[in-house]
Symmetry: C2
Subunit: 315 residues, 2 copies
């Protein structure tokens, strides 16, 4: 997460004072982790005006592959293999579904699907390094070979040029646009422990089927941190969802993520729209701690009111 790369911050506080915490070291433990508290606070505790970031060497080489996998369970098993074998050269492990692929191919001009096989799950893998001795091609070939032998990978292609790499990435990156062009949608930003992704997808499907049969379910996201963008499109022919149905379904999906050890607010924060979910699902003691922090640092309630906590939140 971006927060993990933030070493120092300068923040304008609600009373107009400026906290200058622009140290440039990983290790600073002189009291409470203020830099961590302001990151992800969505502007409700102060306004970040400068930051000191930790950088990593830019990679000089990359290899990129698109794989077809039989189902989400295989995806999870292959993800475990991937984490173990790539030794921090892994820079992307983006999964998506055939539903999402179909929406993108139908609505976004200029996309081409390069595999002979359509499957339940796809994975875009990219390895990169700045170290000339690391044999990225061999590492990727080993992975594909062992994944195919284990029945986790059905088919795959490796980009042979930057143009091919860009074409593979478009299949993943144009999916939100494909789904947007298809009409109404309901979006969810879920995280679960990576080993629970297939369970979430299966149990999420059951929740969807029982609430709104025929929904088009497009789970895609980041395999190795368990972040699932679980986006829904009405059944073919339907123009929209029933508002009450979709709200109930969103609550059920959020509760499912929580039951599996995850979060209903993975990388996009709470904003205003997820306050109701947080109040419903998080322990009251957690919400009260957040209200205590807000009151302590912004007693007048000036900063981004109504974000993270409702303005009438009582501890």
């Amino acid at each position: 997460m971006m927060a993990d790369l933030v070493l120092g911050l300068e923040v304008v506080l609600p009373d107009g004072q400026i906290w200058t915490g622009l140290r440039a070291v990983q290790k600073d433990n002189a009291g409470y982790a203020l830099r961590r508290l302001f990151c992800g606070a969505e502007g409700t505790l102060g306004v970040v005006t400068r930051a000191t970031l930790r950088l990593h060497p830019a990679p000089t080489r990359r290899v990129t592959a698109l794989l077809a996998l039989p189902n989400p369970a295989a995806l999870v098993r292959f993800g475990r293999r991937l984490r173990a074998a790539t030794a921090d050269t892994l820079v992307a492990a983006e999964f998506f579904s055939d539903t999402g692929l179909a929406l993108a191919l139908a609505h976004v001009p200029g996309l081409a699907f390069p595999l002979d096989t359509r499957a339940e799950a796809y994975l875009l893998v990219e390895l990169a390094t700045a170290q000339p001795r690391i044999p990225l091609d061999d590492i990727l070939s080993d992975l594909l070979e062992t994944g195919m032998e284990a029945g986790e990978v059905l088919d795959g292609t490796i980009a042979a040029s930057d143009a091919q790499r860009a074409a593979l990435w478009r299949l993943r990156e144009d999916q939100p646009e494909g789904q947007r062009l298809a009409g109404a949608q309901a979006k969810h930003d879920i995280s679960v422990p990576p080993g629970q992704i297939a369970t979430f997808i299966a149990r999420g499907q059951a929740l969807c089927d029982s609430t709104l049969p025929g929904l088009r379910i497009n789970p895609f996201g980041h395999l190795c941190d368990g972040n699932i963008h679980y986006n829904l499109t009405p059944p073919p022919g339907a123009r929209d969802f029933g508002a009450a149905d979709i709200a109930a379904l969103s609550l059920s999906l959020a509760a499912l993520a929580q039951d599996l050890g995850g979060s209903f607010a993975a990388e996009h924060g709470l904003g205003r729209s997820k306050i109701a979910l947080a109040d419903a699902l998080r322990p009251p003691v957690e919400r009260a701690l957040m209200a205590d922090l807000k009151r302590a640092l912004d007693p007048g309630g000036l900063m981004n009111p109504g974000v993270i906590l409702a303005t009438d939140h009582k501890a």
Copy 2:
């Protein structure tokens, strides 16, 4: 840092309530980063009773070398090369000085120094991986070769067995014991941006020489995160420091670390003993923010009073 591996926490709060935040995902952004706030709070906001940790695959292979370097400036330049070339296989880059080596060799039985060259600076490098295709030996050889060509490395040895690896590690790990056996000492836990280590050592030496001439200065630590354990032993023959002199020197060294963009409380926290440094050197607005947080979460001042903030701290 350990805090970066903590995914979830269970904390008993000052009022006896239990906050259960044992989620097992990296990405949870449902409001303020409570898990980050409790980490490093030194028990002043609550008592951590359970934690969920992020793990990495255990390495299956390692290579370890001890290098002699002409001076701290060469150490910094070689550290930059090391970070760029090791691609996250780097698991240790521990530097130490000839003063620390001499103290260890003189006071700890059974140590052997394996190089022909004594030098101003030494570096213990260890690379490790679980990926069989990564040629650790080649990566290390390249590093030593380019480091020697650039004049950054004078001499070095690579451990040929686990026994040799353990012997190299003892030279680093027995230094605190060597210095303890030498008598009185003053310890500092400093961090600076890694590129400023040589500047800190040079300017620190000047501060020591002007305050307490003849001090034995033993800077050692973690090259790639800039953490310097800057430990002092009285001049040969002297039994102790003057208390006022050493307090003034510690403040000067802490101020120097801060001027260089670093911290005087790198990995060991503030406890009680560094509150005076924090009150003297950190901006009042920062100390007041911490007092606000403490008051918000522990209004009765029950949890580890007098740690991080003096009990009579006023915002």
